[in-house]
Amino acid sequence: MRTINQFFSKIREINQRYAKPTVEMSRGVKFSLAVLRIYLFLLVVLMIYKFITVIKVL
């Protein structure tokens, strides 16, 4: 239990340490990150769709 607590407190510490991105959020950076989000979202949708179709077949 103590180890799990330590692990989660470590995760919280990491999240705090890297809470604020240091890269200058220019238009180009914001655009790239937005495109990346959309891309990954679509990819995840495709994977879920595939997963569901495979489950249905089984």
């Binding site: 604020k20 991105p21 890269v23 790239s32 990819l43 495709l46 994977m47």
Partner: protein, 448 residues
């Protein structure tokens, strides 16, 4: 004094002058030659000190999956796609050299750089994705290694134990330098495909005529397109970015070493493609038209034609899997160490960096067990590697370019406009093709 002596004296003086001028010219020539030789030798020695991360990552790129792809390419299309493989030299170089600059300037691995620059969300996404991709790829390396040694009658369980023991010896010596030199030794073994290619007596005129002139045999069919994408997918893998940057940091390369680090990467990219070409020549000569699903099958078929070439193919496959396993398991451990703040250097002993070594062996051992499980879904794992890699690779590449444009951090080593044009073009092409590859792996009938 005789006439002869009187006349002789001025003549000999002039001769002496000519001779002394000639001697001085000779001396100048030899001193320039000596100076140049010393300069070149100094550069070579400096290169030998700095060489490592680029060579290791590039040659390890020809892992078990890569060998299978090249063997299948040669068997299916003969020498016809050699020109395409040559195009991958600049692709691999331009992507990987950015990690050299980033590592040498920031002294941070790729995972830490993403956390620091883009925040915890993108950081965790990359780290967890890397962990999954690396573990799955590691399973495929073990599959390749066990298949390779099974040709020589070595049971799979023994191969796994031997590999884990061998990697323990390599990693636990407590020195990055020693680890790197041993890894370079295994890189040398990867050149085994070169003598194999000469042993099959390929037709040089056919290689030049068919292989070096860009052509698409039979037109751009789905099968050809899939194979081209597979070749790109095996040339640039997500773990390579993380591995080389962390390796540059662990080796302690500085800004002044960037030039040599780039040369190291360039030589590595030439060697990796050269090895791929030689594999294509071997299977294109002896197995043209044979259905090849994996490199171990290729080795078995080659043994029927030429025992030694088949044996070379099997040894090369084992070596490729081993090199891949060495680098991939380290890429994950370095990344976790960077983020969790553990000591994470090969220069540390087990006592000093226990979590680094525990994560290394945990990844290695769990991946090694999978091929030993009867009925393990190995085909599904291979498919899943391609799909998950597609989620990580674009993100890692986009972050790489954005980081290289952060002038505040990179200073004079930030990307120039030309470098941005070249690297962005390459990255966009890789993203499109690898996405198509991943999607076609998910939905095989989509492009038919």
């Amino acid at each position: 004094m005789t006439l002869c002596e009187c006349n002789a004296s001025p003549l000999s003086q002039s001769q002496r002058r000519v001779s002394s001028t000639s001697n001085s010219t000779d001396m100048d020539f030899f001193s320039v030659l000596y100076y140049r030789f010393k300069k070149v030798w100094k550069a070579v020695r400096l290169y030998l000190v700095i060489a490592g991360p680029g060579l290791v990552v590039m040659i390890a790129d020809n892992d078990a999956g890569g060998i299978t792809t090249y063997a299948a390419t040669g068997a299916k299309y003969g020498y016809h796609l050699i020109w395409f493989l040559l195009l991958l030299i600049p692709v691999a170089y331009y992507v990987q050299e950015m990690t050299v600059r980033l590592g040498a300037v920031t002294k941070r691995g790729h995972a830490e750089a993403i956390f620091e620059s883009f925040g915890a969300f993108w950081g965790w996404f990359s780290l967890l994705d890397l962990m999954i991709v690396d573990w799955l790829t590691l399973v495929t390396e073990f599959v390749g290694m066990t298949a390779a040694l099974s040709i020589f009658g070595v049971p799979a369980w023994l191969t796994v134990i031997l590999v884990v023991l061998l990697m323990s010896i390599i990693v636990l010596n407590g020195r990055y330098w020693t680890w790197e030199k041993i890894a370079l030794g295994f890189c040398l073994l990867n050149l085994i495909y070169i003598p194999a290619a000469f042993m099959v007596n390929p037709s040089i005129s056919d290689i030049i005529g068919q292989g070096l002139i860009p052509n698409l045999p039979g037109g751009l069919t789905n099968e050809l397109f899939f194979l081209l994408m597979a070749n790109i997918g095996t040339t640039i893998a997500p773990w390579m970015l993380f591995f080389q940057q962390s390796s540059v940091v662990d080796k302690g390369l500085q800004e002044k070493d960037i030039k040599m680090g780039k040369i190291d990467t360039f030589i590595g990219s030439i060697i990796t493609v050269a090895i791929a070409v030689f594999i294509v020549i071997v299977t294109g000569t002896l197995l043209n038209g044979a259905p090849i699903d994996d490199a171990a099958t290729a080795a078995k078929l080659l043994m029927k034609t030429n025992h030694y070439v088949g044996a070379f193919m099997a040894v090369g496959l084992f070596d490729a899997g081993l090199l891949g396993a060495i680098c991939i398991s380290l890429a994950s451990s370095w990344a976790f160490g960077e983020i969790f703040g553990w000591a994470h250097s090969l220069n540390t002993k087990v006592k000093e960096a226990p979590w680094f070594y525990i994560s290394f062996f945990f990844t290695l051992a769990t991946a090694g067990i999978v091929p030993l499980i009867p009925g393990a879904p190995l085909v599904l794992i291979t498919l899943f590697v391609q799909v998950v890699a597609v989620t990580l690779l674009p993100a890692a590449l986009v972050f790489l370019i954005l980081l290289l444009n952060d002038k505040k951090t990179m200073g004079e080593y930030a990307n120039t406009s030309l470098q941005n044009i070249v690297s962005t073009t390459i990255v966009v092409a890789i993203i499109i093709l690898s996405t198509l590859y991943g999607v076609s792996a998910l939905f095989p009938n989509l492009f038919q």
